[in-house]
């Protein structure tokens, strides 16, 4: 197997490297593509593009702050629900359940992960919207299409990601550590929370980060329940009111009609591509951070 002994061209090697290069190029190429295509809007608006609160494409005014807010708001709701629920479930399956029952819960979670986002969206439209109207009755929402609806739907969607990765992290803690802790007289809860949770902390953090990455980028389900209202910049940032009204996220804007109609207008097209670039960058940073945390623990790689 030493190199040099067979210096002839190895087809398998060339093909593998070629395919890998192609895949890398496809994904890195997207970054270049969005950067180049969005240049017109950066030239025209500069940083005002990131911090502007108004988007009116007919008068060539492009500010994405309300959409950034929308993305952050729905993701925050999703994390607040899914992180405790997912990590809690992982604690239960690893620390409390016997092995056989654990596989049953994991199977349920794998199936939950497989449900297509458009079906989540459909359930959101047909079932969750009415529920949210009742839930938020105090804030008097105009309809069931709110940031809260999008956030709750996302919570269910990222739950499997958080749970599976948290489960991996917790079950990666060595059995010897657990046995030692129990032998010292710690209860099951103390072993879980003081020993296992501390050991698995990077893995748990990465589970939450990768869940966040998914929430930030999800399009179809959120699209169907968020109302897609432009320029919704809340008067008070930290109140329930903006959550009870319709909004727009980076992804729902990208999935909407402007991607088609902006085609002939370089500046408008640039503004839409800018959304793609910002989304790519934000999700990229969050996910690489999450992946590095996960792999640090001597797991996969």
């Amino acid at each position: 197997m030493r190199e040099g002994r067979h210096r002839r061209l190895e087809l398998t090697r060339v093909a593998s490297l070629g395919f890998t290069a192609f895949a890398a190029l496809a994904f890195l190429g997207m970054l270049v593509l969005f950067t180049v295509e969005s240049l017109p809007v950066w030239r025209q608006a500069g940083l005002g593009y990131l911090f502007g609160k108004r988007w009116f494409f007919r008068v060539h005014e492009f500010g994405i702050l309300p959409m950034v807010y929308g993305t952050l708001a729905v993701s925050a709701v999703a994390l607040l629900v899914a992180a405790p629920l997912g990590v809690g479930t992982a604690f239960f399956t690893v620390e409390v359940l016997p092995r056989r029952a654990r596989l049953a819960v994991k199977t349920a979670v794998e199936l939950l992960a497989g449900i297509p986002s458009v079906i989540y969206g459909l359930l959101g439209v047909l079932l969750l919207r009415d529920f949210v109207v009742r839930l938020l009755a105090h804030w008097d929402p105009l309809s069931g299409d709110t940031l809260m609806t999008g956030g709750l739907l996302l919570a269910v969607m990222i739950l499997p990601t958080v749970m599976t990765l948290a489960d991996d992290a917790l079950s990666g803690v060595s059995a010897a550590q657990r046995t030692a802790a129990r032998a010292l007289g710690l209860t099951r809860a103390e072993t879980a929370l003081r020993v296992a949770a501390r050991q698995a902390f990077p893995g748990l953090a990465s589970a939450v980060l990768l869940g966040l990455g998914r929430a930030l980028g999800e399009t179809i389900a959120v699209f169907l329940v968020i109302g897609r209202q432009d320029n919704q910049w809340p008067k008070r940032l930290l109140s329930m009111e903006p959550l009870a009204s319709a909004g727009q996220t980076l992804t729902t804007k990208l999935g909407g009609s402007e991607t088609f109609i902006s085609y002939g207008d370089p500046l408008h097209w640039g503004a839409v591509m800018g959304l793609a670039l910002v989304l790519f960058a934000v999700v990229g940073v969050v996910s690489v951070a999450g992946a590095r945390l996960a792999l640090r623990e001597g797991g996969g790689a």
């Binding site: 890998t20 809690g88 479930t89 199936l111 939950l112 809860a189 991607t259 999450g290 996960a294």
Partner: protein, 284 residues
């Protein structure tokens, strides 16, 4: 006191797990219950009528199968190549190997709508295609590439060391080792990764939104350029925006049940292999 905390811990986490299971049952149950009343042989064997809002979903099912089959053909060789580079060719370079793994995680988290938009630019703008099934299949294949690669890599890494030692003891070249030992022995990983990826691909809407799918007026594609397909997820996506009409609702539940059956069938096939690999990898 400590006993009490212990019980509270078990109860609190148990409630979380019960909630998760209840969610799955609730979701699957409501779709099956509402879908079954619509679902019959005619629903899956007839063409859509009333501009897609009634009738059957035969072409939508066929379109989805075409997209998924294309994605399979695209991602299988690519993923095999990536996995071989990560697990075999970079053996002597742990840093590069690690980065490739992180890159796969990162690629897996690229929002699928961005793939759709990149597809719009590349296929429609540069190549001048109209909407095309091939564009959709390629985009879906790229989307599931990380899933398939990682499944194969995990399997390759869990192969016993002695297989490799025996192979090199026989004086096989690296290509021979790959083709006669590594790939046959890790076929299960590739297959389960592919099934899982295809389950995901069959339900995805965002990548086919701009470059591949139309709502109505497409049958079986006759060529490559300007040959769009109708597909189940896109069908549901469009109809869901117009869901106040009760007959549309019935049609929607039916289509959702068909899609969910397809997705669950693919992921259940992959499940035994997947759970086993997972457990093995940990005990190794």
């Amino acid at each position: 006191m400590r006993r009490g905390i212990d019980r509270a811990f078990a109860a609190a986490t148990g409630i979380c797990a019960a909630a998760v299971c209840a969610l799955l049952l609730g979701i699957a149950g409501s779709i099956v219950w509402r879908g079954l009343s619509v679902l019959d042989w005619r629903f899956v064997s007839r063409l859509a009528a009333g501009a897609g809002a009634s009738g059957g979903v035969l072409y939508e099912i066929l379109g989805t199968l075409i997209l998924v089959a294309t994605a399979l053909l695209v991602s299988a060789p690519l993923a095999t190549g990536v996995a071989l580079v990560q697990a075999v060719y970079l053996e002597t370079r742990p840093r590069a190997r690690r980065w490739l793994f992180v890159a796969l995680y990162a690629a897996n988290s690229v929002p699928s709508v961005l793939l759709g938009i990149a597809g719009l630019i590349v296929f429609s703008r540069w190549l001048g295609w109209g909407k095309s099934w091939l564009a959709g299949g390629i985009l879906l294949g790229l989307m599931i590439l990380p899933t398939v690669s990682v499944a194969l890599i995990e399997r390759l890494r869990s192969l016993p060391r002695r297989y490799l030692e025996a192979a090199s003891g026989l004086g096989l070249t690296r290509s021979q080792v790959i083709w006669s030992v590594l790939l046959p022995q890790s076929l299960g990983g590739l297959v389960s990764g592919l099934l899982l990826g295809l389950a995901r691909a069959s339900g995805e809407t965002a990548p086919i939104l701009f470059a591949a799918a139309v709502f109505s007026g497409a049958g079986l594609p006759a060529g490559i350029r300007d040959s769009p397909v109708v597909a189940l997820p896109y069908h549901i996506f469009v109809l869901a925006q117009d869901s106040l009409d009760p007959t549309v609702q019935d049609h929607l539940w039916g289509a959702a049940a068909v899609l969910l059956a397809l997705v669950f069938a693919l992921s259940l096939l992959a499940l035994p292999v997947r759970l086993r690999i997972h457990e093995e990898a940990k005990s190794a």
